[in-house]
Point group: C2
Chain length 319, copies 2
């Protein structure tokens, strides 16, 4: 379904801004509290917290993060889930979100309703309140929704991307690659898993996989180190294998470079019992694998059979 309509009566332009905002509040329902704790004042008000606050922002833009094949509810859900995945990667819990829309006047009211129903359902599921936003007219053919999500640390600490040392293990949750076949909007943000990992003293650093591990591992790699991954250890998804049959590239290449996996990439202390981590994980999350895929070595000391991550890098945006 396209976000746009050629029937003027079916477009948001006939509503005007005020009526549209009323509709949005109706679609959000109890996912959006009353002002000043929600939509309707100059700012939204969030009660004080004694924990560290987390803030992240990610959009969905038509033609880039979704196309007409993705149902509008899935687009609304994806917008929030992309941001939830960032909160998960810090070991946090989500609290409240604001959504800024830039939309063409010919945006379909029915499509936008689906988008907000999907957003609201996901917000309820993960206990996020939609507390504010903005609606601005954009040029013809444009639809973008820009969400900023606030959270707080779920435990005493926040897990950053920093701290990996030589010898530390690299783990990843789930399976990688082929997200374009549906995972890119059907994924589940790893909130429970991230919060659990933050309680484990052997977990040093963490991030979520959005651009493919070949790209993202760079952000976890301390200067002077390299990530040594063995191809046979990478948990390749069935979708990556299906993609490979079409593309002529290997399933491993898809697993390393496709991106939008929204799994957790975790650095674990060298001197720790990684078997006990895996055993405890399996008890907590029996349906989701946690796989050791490699470790950090000094730069220039990569084993001969380690994956060449530079060659495996996927698409770079804006290029």
């Amino acid at each position: 379904m396209s976000p746009f309509t050629s029937r003027r009566q079916a477009a948001v332009a006939v509503l005007g801004e005020r009526a549209l905002i009323r509709e949005i509040r109706r679609w959000l329902g109890n996912a959006s509290p009353a002002a000043p704790f929600g939509i309707g004042d100059d700012c939204a008000v969030i009660p004080p917290t004694r924990r560290h606050q987390l803030v992240t922002t990610d959009p969905v833009i038509h033609g880039r993060h979704f196309d007409d094949a993705v149902p509008p509810r899935a687009v609304g859900a994806k917008l929030l889930k992309r941001n939830l995945s960032d909160i998960a990667a810090m070991g946090g819990r989500p609290v409240a979100a604001v959504v800024s829309l830039a939309l063409a006047p010919e945006t379909s009211t029915a499509w936008l309703r689906g988008f907000y129903l999907g957003l609201a359902a996901t917000a309820r599921k993960f206990r996020v309140k939609i507390v504010g936003g903005d609606v601005t007219q954009a040029p013809a053919g444009f639809f973008g929704a820009f969400l900023t999500l606030h959270g707080e640390s779920a435990t005493a600490r926040v897990v950053t991307r920093t701290g990996a040392r030589r010898g530390d293990h690299i783990f990843v949750s789930g399976h990688l690659g082929g997200s374009l076949l549906g995972h890119h909007h059907r994924f589940t943000p790893r909130l429970a898993e991230g919060a659990w990992l933050a309680t484990r003293a052997e977990v040093v650093a963490m991030m979520d996989v959005s651009d493919g591990i070949a790209n993202d591992l760079d952000s976890l790699t301390t200067r002077g180190l390299s990530a040594a991954l063995a191809g046979r250890d990478i948990p390749v998804s069935a979708a990556a294998r299906r993609m490979a049959r079409r593309s002529g590239r290997t399933a491993l290449a898809h697993a390393l470079g496709d991106g939008e996996d929204y799994e957790l990439l975790v650095v674990v202390k060298e001197k720790s019992d990684s078997d006990s981590l895996k055993r405890d994980w399996a008890r907590q999350f029996p349906r989701l694998p946690l796989t050791r895929i490699g470790h950090f070595v000094p730069s220039g000391r990569l084993p001969a059979d380690a994956i060449n991550l530079t060659a495996a890098r996927g698409y770079e945006h804006l290029r």
Copy 2:
């Protein structure tokens, strides 16, 4: 200056996403702290606060909030100031912001540099940290920057839009109208004024004027009441008078409907000494007038000479 360039070497596309983000961090300089308190991790981290937190979001989009006549530094400044004005309207103080960019590949790097230098200068001036963001490619011809600003209450309370009663006075800061002649990007957010007003017990409710008082007063008007304004009391700006000479409309019409004034609209208790409020204000803010422009009456009891606000309403967005 246009945000776009036809010279490929001068466009952000030649940089690619990673190099562009490095440039943005350089342009922001000390307005952006190091990760995890700033750009570079999955989320930005903000230290805990014992005060109520405030959140607001407003964008600038090319062709809507600015055109090629506005210098890029002024566009970056305007983006932050629009949001600062919302924090001011709650009697708050700003803390940290995230910025999500959606930009065409042909966006000019020089233009974007100016934009970020303007944003950074304004952030330093008002002590806001730019703690995170996102950069996403948009279709040709599009530039939008979506900022979410976090603040906290500056005093024990947050001043909302709610609470006006019959008889309460309506005040406005500064002068109104004609913002298109330059005020729309040269304005100063009324942060000190808003925080001061929040300390005054006689101040009931407050908001900032973004769509013109004829539109915005609606949000302050309790059900069952109407705002009775006298035309002679409206502080009409010199720019509104200049606009009137060109447009054939009255200067008062411009003052009521133009919007983008970013002044404070304030509801003051009927039973208060509004002379003492004005006297204390003049001591604090000798260069900015605070003008009583009317009061609230029961609906249907508008004096015959009161302004017809419905007729004075300006432009409605998306229509």
